[in-house]
C-alpha cells in the first residue's frame, strides 16, 4: 500500500537553479522520492502558474522549498506566498539562507550595478534600465529571513544531493532533521600540525603538498569557519574551501568575522604584508554570507536610511 502523496511546492526566487539541479542529482533515488510527492507548484517541472499557487488554501502545502534570494519585488511576493501556503518552509541553499554569492552586489549602489549591466560596457553604450512588464529590482538584497520565518535552513551552494535526500525524507516522515555540526576540517583528510603561516599564497602559486593542510601551506582555506555538511568536497580534491555552506551552528554566527579571526591566528604577519597578501577580504571571507553578516547589515541599514531620506 502506498501512502497518499504529500503536497509539496518549490519556489525559485533569483537563483542559479543549482539547488534544483542538486535535487535532480539524487538520480535513481528520484524513483523512490517522486511518487511520494504531490507537486503543487514548481516552475521547472510542472506547468502550474503563479495564479494556481495564489489560489491554494493557506497552509495546504505540507513542505515548501525556497531557492534563491529576493532580488526583485516578484521574488519577495513569491517568498511571502510560499510562507503563507506552506506548513513547513525550508530555506533551500545558501542564497536562501544567507543571501549567497549574488548578495555581494550589496557592496555597491544599485545605480552602479545598473551602469555596467545596462548603460555602458564593451558591447553596448547608452542603454536604459528596462521597466516594461518587469518586476522592479530591490535596491538592496535583504536576507530572505528579513521577509519570512523559515522552519528549516538547509545551506550549501548547492546543498549536496545526499543532504537533500536526508532532509526531504525526514520532512515527509514528519521527523526532526538532525544534522552533524562539524566544520569542513573534520572531514578533511589532510594532516594539520598547527604551524603558523609565514606567507599567504594565491591559489595558483606553486604545487601544494597533497597530504598537508592547505591553510598551513599558506593557501587561504575557510574549512574551519564552515559547516561541514558537504563532507569536504573541495579540500579532498586539492581545492581550498571558500565557505559555501556558511557558518556551523548556530548559523547566526558571522562566518566572515570567524574566518578573519582564524586567519589572523594562523598568520600573525606584519599588517602591511597581510594587507598586500590578502587583497580582497570581503570577497574572500564574506563570499556567501554578506547580506546576513554584521558588515552586510550595516550596509543594508545605510541603504534603507538613504531610501527613507529620499522619500
Amino acid at each position: 500500500m502506498m501512502a497518499e502523496p504529500i503536497p509539496v511546492a518549490m519556489g525559485q526566487g533569483s537563483s542559479c537553479w543549482g539547488c534544483f539541479q542538486s535535487l535532480v542529482d539524487m538520480h535513481l533515488r528520484l524513483a523512490d522520492v517522486l511518487p511520494l510527492l504531490d507537486i503543487k507548484y514548481w516552475q521547472a517541472v510542472v506547468d502550474y502558474k503563479l495564479e494556481d499557487l495564489e489560489n491554494y488554501p493557506d497552509k495546504s502545502i505540507v513542505v515548501g522549498l525556497y531557492e534563491g534570494m529576493a532580488r526583485t519585488e516578484e521574488d519577495v511576493h513569491l517568498l511571502k506566498l510560499m510562507r503563507q501556503k506552506c506548513k513547513v518552509l525550508v530555506a533551500f541553499g545558501t542564497c536562501s539562507c544567507y543571501g549567497g554569492i549574488p548578495g555581494l552586489a550589496n557592496a555597491w549602489d544599485i545605480e552602479e550595478c545598473y551602469d555596467v549591466k545596462f548603460r555602458e560596457n564593451k558591447t553596448f553604450s547608452g542603454g536604459k534600465v528596462p521597466t516594461e512588464n518587469l518586476p522592479p529590482i530591490e535596491p538592496v538584497v535583504h536576507p530572505n529571513s528579513d521577509y519570512v520565518d523559515f522552519d528549516i535552513y538547509l545551506p550549501g551552494c548547492p546543498p549536496t544531493s545526499d543532504l537533500i535526500v536526508k532532509a526531504i525524507t525526514a520532512l515527509l516522515e514528519g521527523k526532526e532533521l538532525e544534522l552533524p555540526t562539524y566544520t569542513v576540517c573534520h572531514y578533511c583528510p589532510r594532516e594539520k600540525k598547527e604551524t603558523p603561516i609565514p606567507e599567504i599564497l594565491r591559489p595558483f602559486r606553486g604545487n601544494a603538498d597533497p597530504d598537508r593542510c592547505l591553510l598551513e601551506q599558506g593557501y587561504i582555506c575557510l574549512g574551519s569557519a564552515t559547516w561541514g555538511l558537504c563532507e569536504g568536497q573541495c579540500v579532498s580534491k586539492g581545492v581550498t574551501c571558500r565557505g559555501c555552506f556558511g557558518p556551523p551552528p548556530p548559523i547566526t554566527q558571522d562566518q566572515g568575522a570567524a574566518a578573519m579571526s582564524m586567519l589572523g591566528t594562523y598568520a600573525p604577519l606584519e599588517p602591511e604584508k597581510l594587507k598586500e597578501q590578502v587583497p580582497d577580504p570581503l570577497g574572500c571571507f564574506y563570499r556567501f554570507t554578506y547580506p546576513s553578516s554584521r558588515l552586510g547589515r550595516m550596509r543594508i541599514r545605510r541603504e534603507e536610511l538613504k531610501e527613507a531620506s529620499e522619500e
Binding site: L34, Q43, T123, K128
Partner: protein
C-alpha cells in the same frame, strides 16, 4: 472590439531561468507583439570587480547551476588569456572531459525532463500529468535510461570538478587535481552501458521527430543568423573560432575570441532584464542570431566523431542545412549527445588524461584583457575580464548563452503564435497519438 487582448504567461515553466511571456493580440486575433520578459538579474558583472581574478572561476559558475561547468571553464580561459598562460595538455584534456560530461547530462535532462512530457502525454494533457514525475510513473524504462545518462554525466563531472554543480578544480595554469587511474577505470567500465543508453535515445528521438514531423516543419520555422564555435568546420564545445551563419546559410564571420566586439552587438530591450545579443554588422533586429544545439549544427560542416556525424547527416536529410526549424533543436540536441558520449570515451581511453602533469607552478598575474569562449549546452558563452598589474579584476563583460537566444525565441514564438492565433493552424496540424494516454 478595438481593445487589444493581452495574454500573460507567468512564469514560463519547464525552461531554465525566470521569465514570463506577454502576448498582445489585436482585432481578429492579429498577433501584435510578443515579449519574453526575463524577470531577474543579479549583477555578476559588477561584483566580480575587485576580486583577485583567479577567484572568478569560483564565483562565475553561480550564474547558472544548470551549466556551471561552461562558466567555470570560460572564466578560467579568460583569466589565462589575460595573463598569457597556457595550461599543460593533460589539463586541457581533463577540462574537455569535464565539459563533455556536462553536455551529456544537460542534454539528457533537457530532452527527457523538459521536452519529453509533451510528446509522452501530448502537449495538451493536464499540467498535473504533463511532467517528468509522470514519465517516471508511466514509462519507467525510458525514465531510468534518462536518469542513468544524467547520472553518468553529473558524477563524472563531480570526479573531475570536485563538485558537479559549481566545480572548483580549474585554476589559471591548469587543474588542481588529476584524474586517478582508478577513477578512470571505473568510468571506462561504465562506457558500454552509457553507449547503449545513447543509442536508445537516438532511436526514441528519431521516432518522435518522425511522428511530429508536421509540427517540426510547420510550426516556428524562423530564419535567423546562427552562432557557434567551430574547430576547422567540426563542432567543438571547448575551443575554436566563432562562426556566424546568415539566414541563407552563408558563413559570414569566422573570428577569434578577442575580436568579439566587432561582431557582437548587445541590445538593451525595455521589457527584459536579459539583453539581446545579435550580429553587429547586420544591426538590430536584422542581425538577431540564435545559438544552442541547432545553431552549432548549422554553422559547422560536420561533427567531430563518427556516430555523431552519421546522426547529423540523417538530421540534415530531414531538415536541411541551415535548418530554421525551432523544434529541430531537440533533434540537434540528441546529435550532440552522441558526440559528447563518443568524446568521453575517446578521452577516457587516452593515457594522457590520467597524467599528473596538470598544473603550472609559475603562473604570474599581470595587467591584461582576456576573452574566454566555450559552448554551454544552451549556446556560445563568453567571459571577458580586464585585470590590473596585481591580477585584480577591474572590468567584466559576460555574454551568457541564453542572451544569444532571447530575441530569436521571441521571433520564433511570434511565428508560432501567428500560426496558432491567426491561421488557426493547430486544427490542420497532424499530431500523433501521445505515447501514454491519460
Amino acid at each position: 472590439m478595438t481593445e487589444d487582448r493581452v495574454i500573460r504567461v507567468e512564469p514560463v515553466t519547464r525552461l531554465e531561468g525566470h521569465g514570463a511571456l506577454t502576448i498582445r493580440l489585436g482585432p481578429g486575433n492579429k498577433v501584435k507583439d510578443i515579449q519574453f520578459n526575463v524577470s531577474s538579474t543579479r549583477f555578476f558583472e559588477k561584483f566580480l570587480e575587485g576580486r583577485p581574478m583567479e577567484e572568478a572561476p569560483r564565483i562565475a559558475p553561480r550564474i547558472c547551476g544548470i551549466c556551471p561547468i561552461p562558466h567555470h571553464l570560460a572564466s578560467v580561459k579568460a583569466v589565462e588569456a589575460a595573463w598569457d598562460v597556457t595550461p599543460p595538455p593533460a589539463a586541457i584534456k581533463l577540462r574537455r572531459l569535464l565539459i563533455e560530461a556536462k553536455q551529456l547530462s544537460s542534454h539528457a535532462i533537457h530532452f527527457y525532463a523538459l521536452a519529453a512530457p509533451d510528446f509522452v502525454f501530448g502537449p495538451f494533457a493536464d499540467p498535473g500529468v504533463r511532467n517528468v514525475a509522470a514519465v517516471l510513473k508511466h514509462l519507467p524504462d525510458v525514465a531510468v535510461q534518462a536518469i542513468k545518462l544524467m547520472e553518468f554525466g553529473q558524477e563524472l563531472c563531480r570526479d573531475i570538478g570536485a563538485k558537479a554543480i559549481h566545480p572548483t578544480t580549474a585554476i589559471p595554469g591548469g587543474m588542481l587535481s588529476p584524474l586517478s587511474e582508478g577513477d578512470r577505470d571505473k568510468w571506462l567500465r561504465q562506457v558500454p552501458e552509457m553507449m547503449e543508453n545513447i543509442n536508445k535515445t537516438v532511436e526514441l528521438a528519431k521516432k518522435v521527430v518522425n511522428d511530429y514531423i508536421d509540427v517540426v516543419t510547420k510550426v516556428a520555422v524562423t530564419p535567423t543568423y546562427y552562432i557557434g564555435l567551430s574547430n576547422d568546420g567540426a563542432l567543438d564545445i571547448y575551443d575554436g573560432t566563432v562562426r556566424v551563419m546568415d539566414p541563407e546559410g552563408k558563413i559570414v564571420a569566422d573570428f577569434k575570441p578577442p575580436e568579439y566586439t566587432e561582431y557582437y552587438g548587445e541590445y538593451i530591450p525595455d521589457h527584459s532584464y536579459a539583453t539581446h545579443i545579435y550580429y553587429k554588422p547586420a544591426g538590430y533586429p536584422d542581425g538577431i542570431w540564435r545559438a544552442n544545439t541547432l545553431a552549432r549544427c548549422n554553422v559547422n560542416e560536420r561533427m567531430a566523431t563518427p556516430l555523431a556525424d552519421e546522426a547529423l547527416k540523417e538530421m540534415r536529410g530531414l531538415v536541411g542545412r541551415p535548418s530554421h526549424h525551432t523544434f529541430a533543436y531537440h533533434y540537434a540536441r540528441v546529435v550532440e549527445m552522441v558526440q559528447a558520449a563518443e568524446m568521453i570515451q575517446r578521452l577516457l581511453e587516452d593515457p594522457e588524461t590520467v597524467s599528473t602533469d596538470v598544473k603550472l607552478s609559475d603562473v604570474e598575474p599581470k595587467a591584461g584583457d582576456g576573452v574566454g569562449i566555450v559552448e554551454a549546452p544552451r549556446g556560445t558563452l563568453l567571459h571577458n575580464y580586464v585585470s590590473d598589474d596585481r591580477g585584480m579584476l577591474v572590468r567584466a563583460n559576460l555574454i551568457v548563452a541564453t542572451n544569444n537566444n532571447i530575441a530569436g525565441i521571441e521571433k520564433s514564438l511570434m511565428d508560432a503564435a501567428r500560426f496558432v492565433f491567426e491561421q488557426d493552424g493547430l486544427k490542420e496540424l497532424s499530431l500523433p497519438e501521445p505515447l501514454v494516454k491519460t
